[in-house]
């Protein structure tokens, strides 16, 4: 793999950037892989990378029906944070945030990771009580967090309407300074490049149509490019996880919903942090390109269509304009939807199954992007050892039967 560096950039500029090496190759599927990963998004590619890097398994294929990072990885609002309420969830997301902090160096790829901080606004007394509880829980778990007053927020974000006359007055906020944003596509590309360099086969345009079993173990996957034999199969298919599970007659406690987001036309720098509000239901940041990146709420109905209803977009915009009256004349450039697989307790499933050699990483719902490196890391451990990583253990599929749910609706349900 060609190392990227400032010097390399200078060198290639002399040849008009026409001689850059291909970032990954486009291999022909082999007959057998030790691990086949279904789904070439951020999580799938991260899983492949950590399997190859930390567990020495390099005979891996990542099977993707479209193109790499073309699903929810390309459709989220790029926010990274770890201020979840419950111990299990906050440990997992903090593990991920710690990996984020060194990831660009690790992958030798510019992820444009920017720890610009995340504000979660409170608009009611109950909001503020919840925020204080969550910040205290975070601090006990060693995660940075602060409760800010309205004056402090106003100083930080002058364009936010903090007046007393606002329809939903801002009473305070939680602040996580280490949180921020990352370039979503670069995360998929960075993991893909690093995984390919370690010998992982990235099979794009390869759709899994069935999973072959022998007795109670998986032996491979049927694809539109023929049968691929596999020692282990790991499913990281987000919104389509239940479709894959159905191929082996398994049911998952997931529902797939459309989740929408949108960007405005590019503006000069005006918002240097991430502002989220659960109460009025909007969240916004400004990308390095200058567009305002705005996340909408989830559509209530089931949907695999990668699009949602317009009224959801309208509600989101109303909330954003309520918070930032200055944006009322900004024009939107694009809006889109992704399919998110939501769990009843708003926490993911990272689990072995009753079928030997079949693993699932799914149910991330609205907040999977921030967990990309962490989820890949613990899922790779789970696959390699056929035993859940200590951080992944509470997220077993068995929790729906045992009742040990991790109710993160407060920290995850709306804000992503």
């Amino acid at each position: 793999m060609q190392q990227y560096s400032g010097f390399g950039l200078l060198k290639h500029s002399l040849t008009y950037h026409e001689n850059w090496q291909r970032v990954w190759n486009n291999p022909i599927p082999k007959k057998h892989y030790d691990v086949v990963i279904i789904g070439g998004g951020g999580h799938g590619l991260a899983t492949a990378y950590y399997l190859a890097k930390e567990h020495g398994i390099t005979n891996i294929a990542v099977v993707e029906k479209g193109y790499l990072g073309g699903g929810n990885t390309a459709r989220n609002t790029t926010i990274v944070r770890s201020n979840y309420l419950w111990d299990e969830a906050s440990h997992l997301y903090e593990h991920s945030l710690k990996l984020w902090e060194g990831l660009a160096q690790d992958l030798n790829y510019n992820l444009m990771f920017s720890q610009r901080g995340v504000l979660n606004l409170g608009h009611t007394l109950q909001d503020m009580r919840d925020i204080e509880r969550r910040v205290n829980a975070n601090r006990l778990n060693g995660i940075d967090g602060e409760v800010l007053s309205t004056a402090q927020i106003q100083e930080m974000v002058p364009i936010l309407d903090c007046s007393k006359n606002a329809r939903y007055p801002v009473l305070g906020a939680s602040w996580q300074a280490r949180a921020g944003t990352a370039r979503h596509d670069a995360v998929a590309w960075g993991f893909a490049r690093a995984a390919a360099a370690l010998g992982v086969d990235l099979l794009q345009q390869t759709e899994v149509t069935g999973i072959r079993r022998k007795d109670d173990a998986v032996v491979g996957v049927e694809t539109n490019r023929g049968f691929i034999s596999a020692g282990k199969v790991a499913c990281v298919a987000a919104g389509n996880s239940t479709v894959i599970a159905k191929m082996v007659g398994m049911e998952l406690p997931l529902e797939s919903h459309p989740l929408q987001a949108m960007v405005s036309e590019p503006l000069k720098p005006i918002l240097n942090t991430v502002v989220m509000s659960n109460h009025v239901h909007g969240y916004i940041s400004q990308s390095d390109k200058g567009d305002l990146v705005i996340g909408a709420g989830i559509d209530g109905y089931l949907g695999y269509g990668q699009r949602g209803s317009f009224n959801v977009v309208e509600h989101t915009i109303a909330a954003i304009i309520e918070m930032f009256p200055i944006f009322s004349r900004v024009r939107l450039n694009r809006a889109w939807g992704g399919i998110v697989d939501t769990c009843p307790d708003a926490c993911p499933i990272i689990s072995k199954t009753h079928i030997k050699g079949l693993y699932f990483n799914c149910g991330w719902g609205t907040g999977g992007f921030k967990a990309t490196p962490g989820a890949g890391h613990v899922f790779a451990h789970t696959i390699a050892h056929d035993d859940p990583h200590p951080l992944a253990k509470p997220f077993s599929i068995d929790r729906f039967t045992s009742g040990e749910l991790i109710d993160e609706h407060g920290a995850a349900g709306v804000a992503h």
Partner: protein, 98 residues
């Protein structure tokens, strides 16, 4: 935005008047205390989530405030039919028209 015909009001109205309420025709077990944990979990948490035809429950929240059923394609979002509570769907996956 979906245009939905409420089978009680018999009018085609915009989606904003309605709220989705999940999978239809879920039968509450009559003998919950006799169920195993697996069966109870299945009743509480496991839903069909099909890619294709889905029978689901909707509430005409800003209208007649009645629940009704709908058969809808979850990929194209096409609404095949709406029908009253207690009735059975006339469009089912086996007779799906592509």
């Amino acid at each position: 935005m979906l245009l939905i015909k409420c089978p009680y009001c018999e009018e085609q109205r915009e989606e904003e008047e309605f709220s989705p309420a999940g999978q239809a025709h879920i039968v509450r077990p009559l003998n919950p205390e006799e169920l195993s944990d697996e069966q109870w979990a299945r009743y509480l948490f496991f839903r069909k989530n099909p890619r294709g035809l889905h029978h689901e429950l909707w509430l005409h929240a800003h209208g007649c405030r009645k629940y009704f059923n709908m058969t809808r394609n979850t990929v194209t979002y096409q609404i095949m039919e709406t029908y009253k509570m207690g009735q059975q769907p006339s469009v089912t996956a086996s007779q799906e028209v592509k």
